[in-house]
């Protein structure tokens, strides 16, 4: 672990040499690497990382700058895209933008890549206004900031409703080597605009992959952003996903996180409500099994009056998997009339599975309605009996009940194809061949 830190620190100079030293971002990167040097990787001693240890994940000789790889064909990646809908696509392979697989645009909006936004002067103002403005200054985020060079760059100007969803997919071919990827996304949605984003990280090899991703999302006044994260990676891939959302007056941000794959998945999600009458909805389904670990760490920071937040996370844990949910709701003194709801329901289906959950309310305003509910339980035996008595085999009956348990989260997914895709993954995860789309 120590070695990886040293390696990162020493390779920073080489990394910066290839970049423009006079640029605005250079200052940010230099500051970030210093911060990383100071903070280091998080350990279990930190309250926020109490239940998740990175020790095993970091104890790898990751390659930081993967070498060029063989070109991928569309057929190689088809399965990992939502391919039956029209969409913009920003596809990265081993950290490099892959133009022949992507579909980007500059017409009326910018759906492109961060490296070009950083290098072209017409984007300077935006970068200066938005880049690294809301991301936390903890070790892991600083590390990403220090090495931030590539990722998606999405800017939707005023009054635009984006005609089709945007898919951002990061592939890792990682031939013969373990790789550390650090993608960086910047998404700015201006007044009255609307956009749907689907994000995915996918490893195509058997090697160990660690992704440390940071996304900054700015929802300006009255904007509507729907964000989907599909996490169904190989078992040897780990993901640390840091997402920071800044919302302005009357904006509406919705995030669905579907965590099924990967060895270790850590979702750090922070939403800052900077105006009045904001809606924030975050939901998640987690279904994991052998040797898997999923940790949801969410923060909703209510700063202004009359805002709502809604959280609903469901988890099903099998084999020796470990689930963590740490949901923090912070209501500042000024944020009167806040309405915050949080639910976390878990089912353990194996004796070796563990769930650690810590819903956390911190409230400094008096005229608020905040509640959280959290349960750990089993499937209803009577319901199971009902199904079995009608001739449904045990496996299918269990699957149906589990699907019913998780379905509440899916009901708010607005893209039917995404819903179908997630349904198929769930059916696959539960080992049954029934279409849930009835």
């Amino acid at each position: 672990m120590f070695q990886l830190k040293e390696k990162l620190l020493s390779s920073f100079i080489a990394f910066e040499d290839q970049k423009d030293i006079d640029s605005y971002v250079h200052g940010i990167r230099t500051k970030a690497i210093k911060n990383f040097e100071k903070e280091g990787f998080p350990t279990k001693k930190l309250e926020n990382w109490k239940y998740t240890s990175l020790k095993k994940t970091l104890n790898q000789d990751y390659k930081l700058f993967p070498t060029a790889t063989e070109a991928l064909e569309f057929k190689d990646i088809k399965d990992f895209l939502i391919d039956d809908i029209e969409s913009y696509k920003i596809i990265f392979v081993d950290g490099k933008y892959c133009s022949h697989l992507s579909e980007t645009t500059h017409e009326g909006m910018d759906i492109c890549i961060l490296s070009s936004a950083l290098s072209q002067s017409k984007y300077d103002l935006l970068i200066e206004n938005y880049f690294d403005k809301i991301s936390k200054k903890d070790g892991i985020t600083s590390l990403n900031t220090a090495f931030s060079s590539e990722g998606s760059y999405i800017h939707i100007p005023k009054n635009v409703q984006v005609d089709k969803p945007i898919q951002v997919v990061y592939f890792s071919t990682g031939k013969n080597e373990s790789v550390l990827h650090q993608p960086r996304n910047l998404i700015v949605v201006d007044e009255n605009s609307q956009v749907e984003i689907i994000e995915r990280h996918q490893s195509l090899s058997e090697n160990r992959i660690l992704v440390n991703s940071v996304s900054e999302i700015y929802c300006n006044q009255r904007s509507i952003v729907q964000h989907y994260k599909i996490q169904d990676d190989n078992r040897n891939a780990s993901l640390i996903d840091n997402t920071f959302v800044s919302q302005q007056r009357n904006s509406d941000y919705t995030l669905h996180t579907f965590s099924f794959g990967g060895e270790l998945t850590r979702n750090n999600l922070s939403i800052f409500q900077n105006g009045e009458r904001i809606e924030s909805t975050i939901k998640g389904i987690t279904i994991i099994g052998e040797n898997q670990h999923v940790d949801h760490n969410t923060l909703i920071h209510h700063k202004k009056p009359n805002c709502n937040s809604y959280q609903d996370y469901k988890g099903i844990f099998g084999e020796n998997s470990v689930g963590v949910f740490n949901g923090q709701v912070l209501v500042e003194k000024e944020a009167q009339k806040t309405n915050a709801f949080q639910a976390n329901n878990n089912v353990l289906i194996s004796d070796k599975a563990t769930i650690n959950t810590k819903p956390q309310l911190e409230i400094f305003a008096d005229d608020v309605k905040c509640s959280h509910g959290c349960t750990v339980g089993q499937l209803d035996k009577n319901a199971l009996f009902y199904l079995r008595s009608r001739g449904i085999p045990e496996k299918e009956a269990t699957a149906l009940l589990m699907y019913g348990f998780a379905n509440k989260v899916l009901s708010s997914v607005n893209i039917p194809e995404v819903k179908t895709r997630v349904n198929n993954i769930i059916a696959d995860k539960l080992g049954v061949k029934i279409g849930f789309d009835i």
Partner: protein
């Protein structure tokens, strides 16, 4: 107390001040300030303790020296300088009374002011009281009635001398010396406390009670309570606390250990009303307490607490549900006003099969206070069919206070059922309007609503305590509506 009427309340509300804030001028025998091996040996010597106890203390002290003060709690305060505290203060003419008549009249006066005057309680409630002032036990009543049943109820100091085998076996068995910083400190310097042993199959005929009071300035109170309920026995234990008003902060670091053997039941109720500091947040007691109980098969431990005092409270009465079918309960009301800070809650450790726990916590914050619930429900891999229900409700009065919840839930067994819910809200304007409409002024309306809010917990208190607790709630919230 039991004849408490609305008029009394009105009178009390007018006086507004902390009513237990008097200081009794009793000559006391105080050790020099500071903490060192010599002081510990001196305390032990003063108590005429056997060697094993002195060694036990010194061992704890050595371990304590290696520990550092915890700061994870959601409270802010100036750390007390532990070298500026006197670790022993006893009323000097240490009484060895047989009856109350022999007690220093001034002490009796103190008890009267506390409203738990020993003889009154004796008559009215039939409660056996052990009064601890500045950490020395001064009076234990009803001893004879209890000893007929074989119940041992005496001061810790006495128990060390008369029942060393019991003390030796159980002290530190639930809260080890090294458990935490303040528990270690307590183990090294504790000056007295209560000891209680209920023999097999005996149902204690009356409520046992201890009253703690810090009297002397610049002293810390470190008492140690050990309650042992042998197989199939039952005991209900009450604990009350108060302190005079002082500008500087006083420290109270107690350790309470409960042992409920197979089929036994312990009910432990606390009304904590240490001096909370004045309305500017000056003074008050730091209340850093470690309370824990362990349950055998089919045993039950029930904690009920009403926390209205102390400038800073840091307290987590816990249950280790080790035996099969054991039950743990935690009922709490924590009220904070002005600059008070409370970080309190419980830990329910499910180890045995079919263990059940219930947590009901009501937090009420007013003024500029901060009130946190911090709890842990842990279900181990062997705790089949264990069940937990937790409910944490917070009530905010005014917009300068805060309410926080930090529940931790760790489950390693698939057959466990855990439910947790928490809500935070304020007193509804319509509720107050409804009361106003019926001629109840806002102040009183709030008292009624708060009482209703905390009813589930108040109901769990023994009768005499419930009345006092209700009264305390009203007084501590006095002046919280502008």
């Amino acid at each position: 107390m039991s004849k408490y009427t609305e008029d009394d309340l009105k009178k009390e509300l007018e006086t507004k001040k902390y009513e237990y804030g008097f200081y009794t001028d009793i000559e006391s025998d105080t050790l020099p300030m500071g903490l060192s091996e010599e002081i510990i040996v001196a305390i032990s010597k003063k108590k005429e303790e056997p060697d094993w106890m002195t060694e036990w203390r010194l061992d704890a002290f050595k371990k304590w020296q290696k520990m550092s003060e915890p700061n994870w709690a959601n409270v802010n305060y100036e750390k007390p300088d532990l070298q500026k505290i006197s670790y022993y203060s006893a009323p000097s003419n240490k009484p060895k009374y047989n009856s109350l008549d022999e007690v220093d009249p001034e002490l009796l006066e103190t008890f009267k002011k506390l409203g738990i005057s020993v003889d009154e309680q004796k008559k009215l409630a039939g409660v056996a009281v052990d009064v601890v002032i500045d950490s020395v036990s001064v009076a234990t009543s009803f001893k004879e009635t209890l000893s007929e049943k074989g119940i041992i109820f005496c001061s810790m100091n006495e128990a060390i001398k008369t029942h060393p085998e019991l003390v030796k076996k159980y002290i530190g068995s639930v809260v080890p010396k090294t458990d935490n910083y303040y528990a270690a400190l307590n183990s090294a310097v504790f000056s007295d406390g209560s000891f209680c042993y209920i023999p097999k199959g005996v149902k204690c005929p009356m409520e046992l009670s201890t009253y703690f009071r810090i009297n002397e300035a610049g002293t810390g109170q470190f008492e140690r309570t050990l309650v042992i309920a042998d197989k199939g026995s039952y005991v209900s234990y009450l604990e009350g606390c108060s302190a005079p008003s002082r500008d500087e902060n006083q420290l109270h670091a107690a350790v309470v250990e409960l042992i409920a053997m197979d089929d036994a039941e312990i009910k432990y109720s606390t009304v904590q009303n240490w001096y909370p500091g004045d309305s500017e947040g000056k003074g008050g007691v730091f209340n850093f307490v470690t309370k824990r109980g362990v349950c055998g098969d089919n045993a039950k431990i029930s904690w009920t607490q009403v926390e209205t005092g102390s400038a800073v409270t840091w307290k987590y009465p816990s249950c280790i549900l080790k035996g099969k079918n054991s039950v743990g309960e935690f009922y709490s009301i924590a009220v904070t006003n002005n600059f008070q800070q409370a970080d309190t809650g419980t830990k329910m450790i499910h180890i045995g099969e079919n263990t059940k726990s219930t947590i009901i916590s009501k937090g009420i914050s007013a003024g500029k206070s901060q009130n946190s619930y911090r709890g842990l429900v842990h279900v181990g891999p062997r705790a089949k069919n264990s069940r937990n229900f937790s409910q944490c409700d917070s009530l905010l009065i005014g917009n300068e206070c805060g309410a926080h919840t930090f529940p931790y839930i760790e489950t390693k067994n698939k057959s466990a059922k855990i439910e947790h819910e928490a809500t935070t809200s304020k007193i509804g304007e319509d509720q107050i309007f409804y009361c106003n409409q019926r001629g109840i002024d806002t102040e009183k309306a709030i008292a009624i609503i708060v009482n209703g809010f905390s009813k589930e917990v108040l109901n769990k208190l023994p009768m005499e305590f419930a009345v006092e607790a209700q009264k305390l709630l009203e007084i501590s919230l006095e002046g919280s509506v502008g």
